[in-house]
């Protein structure tokens, strides 16, 4: 494709330079700082892996990683199926105008800035002046759960708000994938007597499996860098119950001026992202192998059964 090796490098040089300056260099710098104790002023002191050891014994880091796992798992459990079902339902309505209408309505929260969404929900859920408190008081005579003030509830409230905002994006990605599934497959399934549910399970899901993976990756990376929703709605509280790694990294780096541990946490987040990426890719490599092995085994069993019948 390339005439010479030099052409190849010339073509990728602009993009590579930008990538190196704005991505690779800061990552290398964070790695470097993570080995130092440095307040941001003057020169730092080399401490080796001490920052990592301190971080791993920091209860807030543990809480933030636990919150990240809960966030990701609950998003996989609720946001992913919900967005898939919505995309599937809208695909059924397509090409009627109502399909476009529902798509726009569900996608609308995604185009609003996260800061505005977080602020809006903070006001709605406000224990003193919020709309929900108002209705609860008028209908039931009680303020109801303390959505953002109860340390056992706050993470679920945040996950709900996040799901409300980003389901539309996942749905849109699924919609694009579902549109590309050949219609003949559904026609053939219908002739074979498959109902809507069976068609969805045995045709749509396998055909959009790559998209499921992309959505899972987007949810995972989005969660690892969750910042604005935490910053606006809870500030990591109450009592650090809603701490997330990115937000805690910001706190210790820029609020407490501990650049060493802050950089070490950034490196940990990067490692978590790499592990998640590899994990999800591996899962999606293994599933088709298992499914096809299972199908081959089924096929072989059927053949064996038919052979026995014919004898």
């Amino acid at each position: 494709m390339w005439k010479t090796r030099r052409d190849f490098w010339l073509f990728i040089l602009p993009g590579l330079s930008i990538y190196a300056v704005f991505f690779l260099f800061p990552i290398a710098q964070a790695l470097w700082y993570s080995l130092y104790q440095w307040s941001g002023f003057g020169s730092g002191k080399f401490v080796g892996l001490d920052n990592f050891i301190t971080l791993l014994s920091d209860i807030i880091v543990i809480i933030s990683i636990k919150n990240t796992l809960i966030f990701i798992l609950l998003s996989f459990t609720f946001m992913l199926p919900l967005s898939f079902l919505l995309a599937n339902s809208i695909a059924k309505l397509s090409p009627s105008p109502s399909a476009s209408f529902y798509s726009v309505v569900i996608f609308l929260p995604c185009i609003v800035a996260s800061v505005a969404v977080s602020q809006m929900w903070e006001i709605i859920l406000n224990r003193n002046f919020g709309v929900i408190t108002y209705f609860m008081l008028n209908l039931f005579g009680t303020k109801g759960p303390n959505w953002l003030g109860d340390e056992n509830l706050v993470m679920y409230t945040i996950i709900f708000v996040n799901t409300w905002q980003w389901t539309g994006l996942s749905m849109l990605i699924f919609s694009a994938a579902i549109k590309n599934v050949p219609k003949e497959l559904y026609d053939a399934a219908e002739i074979d007597g498959a109902g809507s549910l069976q068609q969805m399970i045995w045709i749509t899901v396998p055909m959009v499996s790559k998209t499921i993976m992309i959505n899972m990756l987007l949810i995972t990376f989005g969660t690892l860098r969750a910042f604005d929703i935490i910053f606006i709605m809870t500030d990591g509280g109450p009592l650090d119950a809603s701490q997330m790694p990115s937000f805690y990294m910001y706190l210790i780096t820029f609020k407490y001026l501990q650049f060493g541990p802050g950089s070490a946490l950034a490196v940990l987040i990067l490692l978590l992202a790499i592990i998640s990426y590899v994990g999800i890719r591996v899962i999606f490599l293994i599933i088709p192998i298992i499914v096809s092995a299972n199908a081959r085994a089924n096929q072989a069993a059927i053949m064996k059964y038919k052979k026995r019948l014919s004898q």
């Binding site: 104790q37 307040s39 941001g40 002023f41 003057g42 406000n126 224990r127 003193n128 002046f129 303390n146 953002l148 003030g149 340390e151 706050v154 809870t234 500030d235 509280g237 109450p238 009592l239 650090d240 706190l251 820029f254 609020k255 407490y256 001026l257 501990q258 650049f259």
Partner: protein, 423 residues
């Protein structure tokens, strides 16, 4: 060709002579912002530009949270603006970095400037005797209270700890939040514990333990344990309401101004909002209560200068001259008068013969200050950010009833040794 070159050169010289010096001015007082200093500063800049056509001011305000982070990043990168707002806690960290201009010569050269002696003590480096900033906005931290709610519940403003507990219990029984507190923002919790700690041990001990310099001034001393237990006790009595850790600063203020809460321990920067609130006529000012057996001055008031203006070191002569001129203008007696009339303390004296129209609440602030035997700067002015971060965290834990005073004190002492002595 010569003509063209001549025209180009003429344009170039005209352009450079017209622009003169441009000064980047980074701060936290946006035009039309909530405090009176916002407007006073903007007016000051406008008049300065009108009087000095050769100096252009690049006005760069940011909200306080963003400013707090960005200015630290600027220090770290060694890329400070020409003139900028700074705060004492940051100064503790950057004073050795030699990025900021010493102002001693400028102050000595202009005795008419009117700087209040001592107003720059928090941005003073005792190691080199250098004054590195001019105070722009000062504050008191006192209790705003709603007299109407006190009257309706047959209460008087408390002067002692026991009276305070009685007031808290009575308000809780009446369904009124005793203290409007935005505990989500840890610094608000620390204002409360600051008073309790200072009252228990006295400012000298308090100051040294916060600065961290004296090893023997520990955080797990009996006085601090008692202070932390008192904070926990207040919370247990319901002094801060049932949503204290989810309420932010703004929520706390709204609870007080709307009459849902009876008291609000906050800085004098709230005067403007207080005098415009729906309960303005009922709002009064009170000092923090005295603590039985406390070693500190039981009348002491928290008062200080939070934000100052500084000039970057290493500017060219022309830029430096312009920056000094600008600094003098925005901290002039005229700007000071404007701020005081809006209810803010300043670092500069008033013009001779000025009869300022000061808000009632500001006068009440001064009355309490007159009756106090001493006044001290707030903790944020001399505590390292990492330490007050931990302190804020413990305050929240105490308010939530998760730990007792002893546990909080022990944890903070561990952190002090780690942060100040690398142990």
């Amino acid at each position: 060709m010569r003509k063209i070159i001549g025209i180009v050169l003429a344009c170039f010289f005209y352009a450079t002579s017209t622009f003169g010096v441009t000064l980047d001015f980074y701060h936290l007082w946006p035009k039309g912002g909530p405090t009176i200093s916002d407007d006073c500063l903007w007016d000051g800049v406008e008049t300065f530009e009108a009087e000095n056509s050769d100096i252009k001011i690049n006005w760069m305000p940011d909200p306080v949270d963003q400013w707090d982070v960005k200015i630290k990043a600027m220090y770290s990168a060694g890329k400070l603006p020409h003139v900028f707002a700074t705060q004492p806690a940051d100064f503790q960290s950057f004073k050795d970095a030699q990025l900021v201009r010493k102002l001693n010569d400028v102050i000595a050269d202009d005795p008419d400037w009117g700087i209040i002696p001592g107003s720059h003590k928090t941005i003073y480096n005792p190691d080199d005797g250098g004054i590195y900033g001019i105070a722009f906005s000062g504050y008191f931290e006192l209790i705003y209270y709603n007299q109407k709610l006190f009257d309706e519940n047959g209460l008087e403003y408390p002067k002692t700890w026991d009276e305070l507990l009685n007031v808290v219990d009575t308000f809780v029984d009446a369904g009124i939040i005793p203290f409007a507190t935005g505990g989500k923002d840890g610094w608000i919790v620390s204002i409360q514990s600051h008073y309790l700690m200072d009252r228990e041990v006295g400012f000298d001990y308090f100051y040294d333990s916060l600065m961290g310099g004296k090893r023997e001034n520990t955080w797990d001393n009996p006085g601090y344990i008692r202070a932390f237990d008192r904070l926990a006790k207040l919370a247990k009595h319901g002094a801060f309401g049932d949503n204290v850790l989810a309420n932010g600063y703004g929520d706390g203020a709204s609870l007080f101004y709307s009459g849902q809460a009876a008291m609000f321990l906050m800085g004098s920067w709230e005067i403007n909002s207080a005098k415009d609130s729906e309960n303005a006529e009922h709002i009064r000012m009170g000092n923090y209560v005295s603590i039985p057996g406390g070693q500190g001055d039981q009348t002491a008031v928290t008062r200080g200068y939070g934000k100052s203006f500084a000039i970057r070191a290493g500017l060219s002569d022309e830029e430096d001259k312009a920056a000094v001129k600008f600094l003098k203008h925005i901290t002039s007696k005229e700007v000071s008068l404007c701020q005081l009339e809006g209810g803010e303390l300043t670092g500069t004296i008033l013009p001779e013969g000025a009869t300022p129209d000061v808000p009632r609440l500001m006068i009440e602030h001064f009355d309490i200050f007159d009756n106090a035997k001493s006044s001290w700067a707030a903790y944020g002015e001399f505590t390292l950010p990492a330490m007050y971060g931990e302190w804020n965290k413990m305050g929240q834990q105490l308010m939530a009833g998760k730990i007792d005073g002893k546990e909080a004190a022990r944890y903070l002492e561990e952190q002090r040794l780690k942060i100040h002595f690398n142990e």
